[in-house]
């Protein structure tokens, strides 16, 4: 098999699985549906491994599949670009997707929409692969919107729940706001470069430096800045950056497997991937990079704060995801693209792990997601406990685990950056370490340690309540006790735990400081020397871990864990007191800074109000009422008057004729 058909196989195998499971779900049954989709994703994963090896051997590929359309001299094509950046994403996507597919067998076992669910997640895998494998902006946008669609379908998977169908509409519309900017960015790329092909655009990009465009009269802006910021607005939607972050916490209404796959590991990182892919463009605009960095820093810190007070286990992880996406964005702004991708990768492993473990806990707790009702689960669910501990440790940056290497590199890169805003960003990502450690371990202690805050009967094994997926309630009695989840659930946890541990020290050297990415990522070493400085200070993964013992971030993390332990294990009465004392502050956090209320009131309400007014006053009153029906009435009235003239009496007509003739004669004589 030649490589090109292998490339094609990677997205097509999951697509085939999705189509078969979707259209013939009834015929092939549950087992058939999960077998075929898992097979498809497994094929994609193995093929990605082969391609990865091939690319490592130096065989990159950039070529079209077919021409989508042509107009004038421009032809838009669908094609693949296979380079190291692509293969990293392919591996992450297919690996996490495979884990999630297997996990779903257990998690969705009792759901009526079993086949539909498998069809959706395979379709998602297809879309995501098309997105990362694209060699042009058009296909990127295709994948971009397609993953948005599947996300929409999956958040609203339980379509009878009002909260779910509210959340999915919100997610789609907020993403569309970002896409609006993204599309305009693509439009400008075409207008200025005359092509949408990455390679050609990147090659021509330096020629555009210094060229300006006046979007507002008298305010010339650099074209590159405008393009980059517009593209980044797209990333802000998809990667849930402030202020377009509002949809991600609500997206937790979807089933947990997709929270892991879509809303933690892959889709939300599409924006990060996109900016890294566009590094040759972003490198040309310091303004855009500063913008990226500041937005990322705000997200990293302020979304972390929100995670500190959440009580829903999935929402804690969701805010943690927002915050970590902010970290990646900051890295992009500091021109440390490879670090961002590195963190994207490690984060995909440990965050998918955390979400899936949270799902396992939720199953054990009979679909109660409130961490205040948990406690002491360690002895009931040992594998879940251990893997979640690994995930949390990786997340907070324990030296030696994967998250440490990527996150510490981000912090160092930001400190080395000299762009406007880097001071604030450096503060945000450093302070964020404490926040991350605090919310992660607050959750960890409340869930797995301490007293059991639920009641259970040890010997009954009634499972009928499990079916009640709607049960958010706090009925603590009558359930069987939590027990470890079946192997299809814990196996993916174990699989994800492995890279969460070792992916950091194993890959930091080649990915960050070697020439792993080759020409896939471009950094201007003169203008943005952060990576060069990091490289000079890097003496191997082991030395980095040792060195961290003397640096601030590690001690902040320890302090965070300590505080969490103190507040949730030792002085359990304190949080309530703090809450009472810090009234306004708590309300602000509880209201999530008021974004949801404002958006509902201003944008959603405003659009409906405006639409209603335009319709009632514009269409119904002005156009129909006055112009159309008014004309009709006027015609009616004139006709009514004229009707009197048509009296039928000959002498009336004769009289009119004489007057007419007289008038005409007068007129002719005068002329």
């Amino acid at each position: 098999m030649d490589m090109k058909s292998l490339y094609l196989l990677v997205p097509m195998a999951p697509l085939a699985g999705a189509i078969i499971a979707g259209l013939f779900g009834k015929a092939i049954g549950r087992v058939g549906a999960h077998t075929i989709t898992i097979l498809g994703v497994a094929i994609a994963f193995i093929a990605s491994l082969v391609i990865f090896q091939d690319v490592q051997a130096g065989h990159t590929f950039n070529g079209p599949l077919y021409t989508w359309l042509t107009s004038g001299t421009v032809s838009l094509e669908i094609g693949f670009l296979i380079d190291p950046l692509t293969t990293v994403m392919m591996l992450v996507v297919t690996f996490v997707s495979l884990c999630v597919h297997v996990y779903t067998i257990g998690y969705m076992a009792e759901d009526d929409g079993y086949q539909r669910f498998f069809s959706y997640i395979s379709l998602f895998t297809f879309s995501m692969l098309m997105l990362v494998m694209s060699n042009n902006f058009l296909q990127l946008f295709f994948g971009w919107e397609a993953v948005g669609l599947v996300s929409y379908l999956l958040i609203g998977f339980w379509y009878t729940r009002d909260t779910a169908i509210y959340a999915n509409l919100k997610a789609f519309l907020v993403n569309r706001v970002g896409d609006c900017g993204f599309l305009l960015g693509i439009g400008l790329v075409l207008a200025y470069f005359g092509t949408l092909d990455y390679a050609e655009v990147f090659q021509k990009a330096p020629m555009l430096v210094g060229q300006t465009v006046s979007l507002i009269e008298g305010h010339p802006w650099e074209v590159m800045t405008v393009i980059c910021i517009l593209l980044f607005i797209g990333a802000m939607g998809k990667s849930a950056q402030f202020p377009l972050h509002v949809w991600l916490p609500d997206s937790m209404e979807g089933p947990t497997p997709i929270s892991a796959l879509i809303h933690a590991a892959t889709m939300v990182t599409a924006g990060i991937f996109m900016v890294a892919r566009m590094s040759p463009l972003f490198e040309l605009s310091d303004t855009a990079l500063s913008f990226v960095m500041v937005i990322g820093a705000i997200t990293a810190l302020f979304m972390g704060f929100l995670g500190m007070i959440q009580n829903d286990i999935k929402r804690v992880v969701a805010y943690s995801t927002l915050s970590q996406l902010g970290y990646m964005t900051v890295a992009l702004g500091a021109s440390a693209y490879s670090v961002a991708i590195f963190h994207l990768m490690t984060h995909a492993f440990f965050k998918a792990l955390l979400f899936l473990a949270a799902g396992s806990v939720i199953m054990g707790m009979h679909h109660d997601q409130d961490i205040r009702n948990m406690g002491g689960l360690r002895k009931y669910m040992p594998i879940t406990w251990l893997t979640m501990l690994i995930g949390s440790l990786a997340l907070i940056g324990t030296p030696g685990l994967s998250g440490f290497f990527s996150k510490d590199s981000i912090i160092e890169a930001v400190h080395a950056s000299h762009l406007w805003g880097s001071g604030f960003a450096a503060f945000a990502v450093t302070a964020g370490v404490f926040v991350t450690a605090f919310y992660s371990f607050r959750m960890y202690f409340l869930v797995f340690h301490g007293k059991e805050r639920f009641k259970c009967a040890h010997d009954t094994h009634d499972h009928e309540d499990d079916k009640d997926a709607d049960a958010h309630g706090h009925h603590h009695g009558g359930h069987s006790c939590p027990h470890e989840s079946p192997w299809v659930v814990w196996l993916p946890l174990a699989l994800l735990a492995i890279p969460s541990i070792y992916a950091g020290w194993a890959y930091i050297q080649p990915m960050l400081y070697g020439d792993f990415f080759g020409s896939a990522i471009f950094v201007d070493p003169v203008a943005h020397p952060a990576m060069e400085e990091l490289k000079a200070g890097f003496h191997g993964a082991g030395a980095m871990a040792m060195h961290s013992l003397t640096t601030l971030p590690l001690w902040l993390a320890v302090a965070g864990v300590g505080t969490a332990y103190f507040l949730s294990m030792v002085r359990k009465d304190l949080p309530a007191k703090i809450r009472a004392k810090a009234g306004i502050l708590y309300t602000i956090l509880d209201k999530k800074y008021g974004f949801d209320d404002f958006n509902d009131w201003f944008f959603a309400g405003g659009a409906r109000f405006l639409g209603g007014r335009l319709w009632r006053w514009g269409d119904v009153a002005a156009i129909d009422g006055i112009l159309v029906n008014g004309t009709a009435r006027l015609v009616g009235r004139i006709a009514g008057m004229v009707r009197h003239v048509q009296s039928g009496y000959v002498y009336h007509y004769a009289f009119a004729m004489i007057i007419g003739v007289a008038l005409m004669v007068t007129w002719f004589v005068k002329v």
Binding site: Y66, T67, W68, L69, T70, S71, G72, F141, F142, W144, E145, A146, L149, Y152, L153, G156, Y159, T160, D162, I165, L169, F172, L173, R176, V177, D179, C180, L183, L184, I186, G187, L188, L190, A191, V213, L215, A607, R608, L610, G611, G612, L614, W615, G618, D619, I623, D624, L627, V628, A632
Partner: protein, 484 residues
């Protein structure tokens, strides 16, 4: 070509009460119509901008009026679209229409033939006759098989459009004299005109075509007509009739009065953007599904006129693609509403909720078309909007930015409606009793689904036939024909 239809229809139109036979005959007629139109596609020569498959016969020799037909890359796709839509509406009306079946079917077939004539006419008078005649079957369809307020809607629709076309007749008579006694449209393309004449002609044609498109603010007949029309009527109205107006701009306005077109392009762009933004907002608050889709049609047609009046290839081809795609999508959307209406007899969004529980298959189709209506990539709805936005941004960033808001508004009104109708718990006993789509409905919706997806994934074949004609038209428009 249209004659084939005419004969078949006369045969069906006569008798009254043997419904099954008439249905079959109508289906046969529509299928034959499509079959006859397909060679236009397969035999089409995309390398020339000249008219092809021409037919010419003297009609009124004294006035130089000829029965002159022919197609180019701009009109050919619409004849196919029209023939295909006819087939769809015949199928869609199969069981629903139970009284005056023969007349119903005949009206649609006659309509189809006339519309083919509109798109193929190369003689001004012939065009005018077809253009006017087109109103009659539609007027009857709305007036006879329509809803409770059908008479108001039908008359409003009729007068609105008639008013515009009378001015066109005046313009044509002027052109007859200006061209030294010819009704040939292609001859009119070549004559020089003063700026005043061009402006006046522009205004006259504008009224005729803007009402048909419809452009804001002469759009209010459309929601009313849609609401009252039977499903088939809505489908034809949205899929085909609206396209005639936009086609008129391309065939008459741009080539005959290019200088006035350039002069007034800003005005046209303004109206188009109003359609996109204003109508998008108005669509958001509609409580009636058909009205909502009607408003969404107006917004989508705003993209068409926007694309035409930015005078570049992206915009013009994007506009044409948008017209075809909108034919499929709006047709499909109206059919979806029709499917529900047939069962519940309500078009109010509030009367539904949780339809997905009882009609999962239908919900899947409806989802696809709703997404296409919101311009999701890989559906045909994306291609046209994308091309027009790409074209517009080359002219002005802010025009494009306003046009791009359709990404948000389009998704908002379509998906919000979808959410309230299809998602959620079963809202009432009517929804609980719903039965999923039957084989015939499945066939109709799948045909459309295949086209919507096919055109989204691979639009190249459609754009290819247009290239030469569009380039020719653009060259024509760029060339001033002003005489002092």
């Amino acid at each position: 070509m249209p004659i084939v239809f005419g004969l078949l229809i006369l045969a069906t139109g006569g008798d009254d009460r043997n419904a099954d036979g008439q249905r079959t005959l109508a289906l046969l007629g529509a299928a034959l119509g499509l079959a006859v139109a397909i060679p236009l596609w397969t035999g089409f020569d995309a390398t020339t901008a000249d008219m092809q498959f021409t037919e010419m016969a003297a009609w009124i020799p004294a006035l130089e009026v000829n029965y002159h037909l022919g197609v180019d890359g701009i009109s050919m796709p619409f004849i196919l679209l029209n023939s295909f839509t006819t087939l769809i509406v015949i199928l869609a009306g199969w069981q629903v229409i139970q009284n005056k079946v023969g007349q119903y079917m005949a009206a649609f077939l006659i309509q189809s033939g006339i519309i083919n004539g509109v798109f193929a006419a190369l003689d001004g008078v012939l065009f005018y006759v077809f253009f006017e005649a087109m109103l009659i079957p539609l007027y009857l369809i709305v007036g006879m098989w329509g809803g409770p307020n059908r008479v108001y809607a039908a008359i409003k629709f009729f007068l609105y459009t008639l008013l515009g076309s009378l001015l066109m007749l005046v313009a044509m008579i002027y052109l007859f004299f200006a061209s030294g006694g010819s009704f040939e449209i292609l001859t009119w393309h070549k004559i020089g005109l003063t700026m005043t004449a061009q402006t006046l002609l522009f205004v006259a044609f504008f009224f005729a075509f803007a009402v048909k498109v419809p452009m804001w603010p002469v759009h209010t007949w459309l929601p009313d007509a849609h609401v009252e029309a039977p499903t088939g009527g809505s489908v034809v109205l949205a899929a085909i009739t609206l396209k005639v107006g936009a086609y008129g701009f391309l065939r008459f306005v741009l080539p005959i009065v290019p200088d006035a077109s350039h002069e007034l392009a800003g005005f046209m762009i303004f109206l188009s953007l109003v359609a996109v933004v204003y109508i998008g907002l108005v669509a958001l608050v509609q409580a009636d599904m058909k009205k909502l889709i009607a408003y969404s049609s107006i917004a989508h047609m705003g993209f068409v006129t926007l694309g035409f009046f930015i005078f570049n290839q992206w915009g013009m081809e994007g506009g044409l693609i948008q017209m075809i795609s909108h034919g499929f999508i709006s047709g499909a959307m109206f059919l979806c509403v029709g499917v529900m209406y047939d069962r519940v007899h309500s078009r109010q969004i509030a009367d539904y909720g949780g339809v997905a529980n009882t009609m999962p298959r239908f919900a899947a189709f409806f989802m696809l078309f709703a997404m296409a209506n919101s311009g999701l990539p890989a559906t045909s709805g994306f291609v046209g909007e994308f091309m027009v936005i790409l074209g517009t941004i080359q002219v002005s960033f802010w025009y494009a930015a306003l046009a791009a808001t359709t990404l948000i508004f389009g998704a908002a009104y379509t998906l919000w409606m979808y959410k309230r109708v299809v998602f959620g718990k079963i809202a009432n006993e009517h929804v609980a009793e719903l039965t999923d789509i039957n084989a015939r409905e499945f066939l109709v919706l799948s045909l459309l689904a295949v086209l919507v997806l096919g055109m989204g994934v691979y639009p190249l074949p459609v754009t290819e036939v247009m290239h030469t004609s569009v380039e020719n038209l653009l060259a024509h428009v760029a060339h001033s024909k002003l005489i002092p």
